[in-house]
C-alpha cells in the first residue's frame, strides 16, 4: 500500500512537472498534451468507479463523455450567437462560463446515467456490456442527425470558455484548471473507495449474494455508483470539448468508450491512479509512435494484450506489486 501511494504521488507530480517545464521552455504543444492526459484521466477516473469498484463493465461511458461535450457545445454556441436555448417555460441563455457549463454537464450526464443505469443494470455480464453500448450508439446517431448542432460535422466554438480569474486561452492556465479538477476527482474517488458505500459496492462486485444477505440491495448500490461515475466522465467531456474548442459525434462513438476503458485497464482496474497512468501511456504512445506510423495502435494492442495476459494489476501493478484493491 505504501509503495503504491509513493508511485501515485510521483505520477501526479510528473503530470504537474512536465507542463511546467514545457512552459519554461515555451513548448505550448507539450502543455496541451499534458492537458489532454489530465482530461482523459479524469474520464477514466469516472469509469473506474463503475468498472473498478463496482465491477460494471460499461462500454457506454462515451455517452457521458459526449453529453458533457455537447453540454459545453450547445451552451457555448448559443452564447456566441447571442440566442437563448429556449425561452419557455423560463428563459435559458447560453453561457461561456466554465462553472455554469460544468454544472450543466454534470447534471445532464447524471440524468443520462440515471436513465441508462436504471435500465441496463437489470442485466449483467455480456448483456450489460451490450446494452450500455447500445445506449451509447443511440446517442451517437442522434448527434449525427441533429443538424441544429452541427450534425455529423460537429460544432466549433471560436473562443475557449472563461473561468473567473483565469485566462483559459493561456495553455498553462487551462492545464491548471484541468489538473485541479483531476486532483479533486482523484481525492473524491479515494474517499469513496474507503467509505461505507465503497465497501458495500465493492462487496457487491465480489459476491452479490453476500450483500443481499446482509440486507443491502446490489441494484441500488450499482445505480448510485453509475450516477456518480457518469458525471465525472461527463465533466471530462466538457473539458475535452473546451480543449479542442470542438464537439463532434466522435466523442459519443464506441471507440471513445473503448479508449476510456483502455486507460483504466492499462493502468490497472480498480487502481485509484490507474486511469492517470493509462491515459499518460496512451497519449505518449499516440504521440511518439503516431509520428512513425499511422498504425501505431497495433503497438497499443500488443501492449494491452500483454497487460491482460501477464499483468492483471496493470502498469501500476508491475512496479508496486499486486494486492491493494479497496
Amino acid at each position: 500500500m505504501g509503495r503504491e501511494r509513493l508511485f501515485n504521488a510521483a505520477m501526479l507530480l510528473a503530470l504537474l512537472a512536465v507542463p511546467l517545464l514545457a512552459w519554461g521552455l515555451q513548448e505550448p504543444f507539450i502543455i496541451t498534451l499534458a492537458t489532454k492526459v489530465a482530461i482523459l484521466a479524469l474520464a477514466g477516473v469516472g469509469l473506474n468507479i463503475a468498472l473498478g469498484l463496482g465491477g460494471l463493465v460499461s462500454l457506454g461511458h462515451a455517452a457521458f463523455f459526449g453529453i458533457g461535450g455537447y453540454a459545453m457545445g450547445t451552451l457555448a454556441s448559443h452564447a456566441q450567437n447571442y440566442e437563448p436555448l429556449f425561452s419557455w417555460p423560463f428563459l435559458f441563455e447560453g453561457s461561456n462560463q466554465m462553472p455554469l457549463i460544468w454544472l450543466t454537464a454534470v447534471l445532464a450526464s447524471a440524468s443520462g446515467a440515471l436513465v441508462i443505469g436504471a435500465l441496463s443494470l437489470r442485466t449483467s455480464g455480456v448483456y450489460f456490456i451490450m446494452i450500455t453500448l447500445a445506449f451509447c450508439q443511440m446517442l451517437y446517431y442522434f448527434a449525427i442527425s441533429w443538424s441544429a448542432y452541427g450534425g455529423e460535422d460537429g460544432l466549433s466554438i471560436w473562443v475557449r470558455n472563461e473561468m473567473p480569474g483565469l485566462n483559459t486561452l493561456d495553455p498553462i492556465q487551462f492545464f491548471a484548471v484541468a489538473f485541479g479538477v483531476l486532483c479533486l476527482a482523484l481525492w473524491f474517488s479515494a474517499r469513496l473507495a474507503r467509505s461505507a458505500f465503497g465497501l458495500a459496492l465493492s462487496a457487491a462486485r465480489q459476491s452479490e449474494e453476500r450483500v443481499e444477505t446482509v440486507g443491502l440491495a446490489p441494484f441500488k448500490l450499482r445505480l448510485v455508483a453509475f450516477v456518480i461515475s457518469g458525471p465525472i466522465t461527463g465533466l471530462a467531456g466538457a473539458l475535452f470539448a473546451d480543449l479542442n474548442r470542438f464537439v463532434s459525434p466522435t466523442m459519443l462513438s464506441w471507440h471513445t468508450s473503448g479508449e476510456i476503458m483502455i486507460f483504466v485497464i492499462l493502468g490497472g482496474v480498480g487502481r485509484l491512479y490507474g486511469p492517470l497512468v493509462g491515459a499518460a501511456v496512451y497519449i505518449l504512445l499516440e504521440h511518439l509512435l503516431g509520428g512513425i506510423s499511422e498504425y501505431w495502435q497495433i503497438f497499443l494492442g500488443l501492449l494491452l494484450l500483454g497487460m491482460v495476459l501477464f499483468a492483471r494489476g496493470g502498469l501500476i501493478g508491475a512496479p508496486v506489486g499486486s494486492g491493494g484493491g479497496a
Partner: protein, 251 residues
C-alpha cells in the same frame, strides 16, 4: 412466546418433473434449534433458498415473525431479521476478515450511502464487527485476507457476519462443514448457547452434532417432510429408519 418465528406452510417447488419441495410445512419456535436432515438430494438446499428469498416457491407460503414474506426478496427478508449462512462460503474474498464483518454491521444499520467517511474508522461498526469476530474466535485473524482463510475459518466468518446482523432467527446451511473434530465441537457449544438469542433452523449432515443440539428434527426425503419430532422420536420412527438411518443400523 409460543408464536413461531418462522412458519412454512405447504411449500412446493418443482424443477421440471423433479419435486424439490413437496408440500413442506415446518415451523421454528423461539429459543429452539430445529434441525433439517435428509439424504443428499432431498431438497434441503432448495428449501433453505426459498426461505431466505433466493428462490420463489410454486405454491405455499412463508411467514417470518407473523408476517407473510412469500413475495419478498432476500434483501427485505434480511432486513426483517433473517440471518443466513451459506453452505458454500459466500464472502467478499478480497476483503479482510474484519471488512467482511463490518459489511455485516453496515447491513444491520440499513444505510450504506455514506460517501466520504472512512468506514473502517467508524467506531460503532467496528465494535459490532470485533464483537462478532471474537465470539466465533476469529479476532486474531481479523486483518487477514479472507481468501487466505482455511475452509473452516470461512465457515466461522459466515457465522460471525450473520451475528453482526443481530438477527431474529438464523438459517444455517452446514455451518460445521470443514471444521474438523475440535472446531465442530466448539461450534456445537456455541450454537447451543446461541439459541437463546435467536432460534436456529439448522441444516447439518453431522449427525452427532444434530442429535446433540436439536430440540426438534425434521426429516426431508424426496422433497417431503416425512417426520418431525425430538431426537428420540426421530431415532425411533420406523419410517425414518427405513428411509434414512436404517442402512447404518442394519449393517
Amino acid at each position: 412466546m409460543t408464536n413461531p418465528v418462522l412458519k412454512v406452510e405447504n411449500l412446493s417447488k418443482s424443477f421440471g418433473a423433479l419435486k424439490a419441495s413437496n408440500d413442506v410445512s415446518l415451523d421454528l419456535r423461539p429459543g429452539e434449534i430445529h434441525a433439517l436432515i435428509g439424504p443428499n438430494g432431498a431438497g434441503k438446499s432448495t428449501l433453505i433458498k426459498q426461505i431466505s428469498g433466493g428462490l420463489r416457491p410454486d405454491a405455499g407460503r412463508i411467514e417470518v415473525l407473523g408476517r407473510d414474506v412469500t413475495v419478498l426478496d432476500t434483501v427485505a427478508r434480511a432486513r426483517m431479521g433473517l440471518g443466513r449462512t451459506f453452505q458454500i462460503s459466500s464472502l467478499a474474498m478480497e476483503f479482510s476478515v474484519l471488512q467482511n464483518a463490518v459489511l455485516g454491521a453496515l447491513g444491520a444499520r440499513g444505510r450504506a450511502f455514506g460517501l466520504f467517511r472512512n468506514v473502517m474508522r467508524d467506531a460503532a461498526l467496528l465494535e459490532t464487527a470485533h464483537d462478532a469476530l471474537s465470539r466465533v474466535g476469529l479476532q486474531d485473524v481479523a486483518q487477514q485476507r479472507t481468501a487466505d482463510l482455511s475452509h473452516g475459518q470461512r465457515r466461522q466468518l459466515e457465522v460471525a457476519v450473520a451475528l453482526t446482523l443481530k438477527p431474529r432467527l438464523f438459517l444455517m446451511d452446514e455451518p460445521m462443514a470443514g471444521l474438523g473434530a475440535s472446531g465442530s465441537k466448539e461450534l456445537t457449544g456455541f450454537l447451543d448457547a446461541l439459541r437463546q438469542e435467536a432460534p436456529i433452523l439448522l441444516v447439518e449432515p453431522d449427525m452427532d452434532a444434530v442429535f446433540a443440539l436439536a430440540d426438534r428434527i425434521s426429516v426431508l426425503v424426496y422433497g417431503a417432510v416425512i417426520a418431525t419430532g425430538t431426537a428420540d422420536e426421530i431415532r425411533n420412527n420406523p419410517e425414518v429408519r427405513r428411509a434414512y438411518l436404517g442402512e447404518e443400523e442394519l449393517a
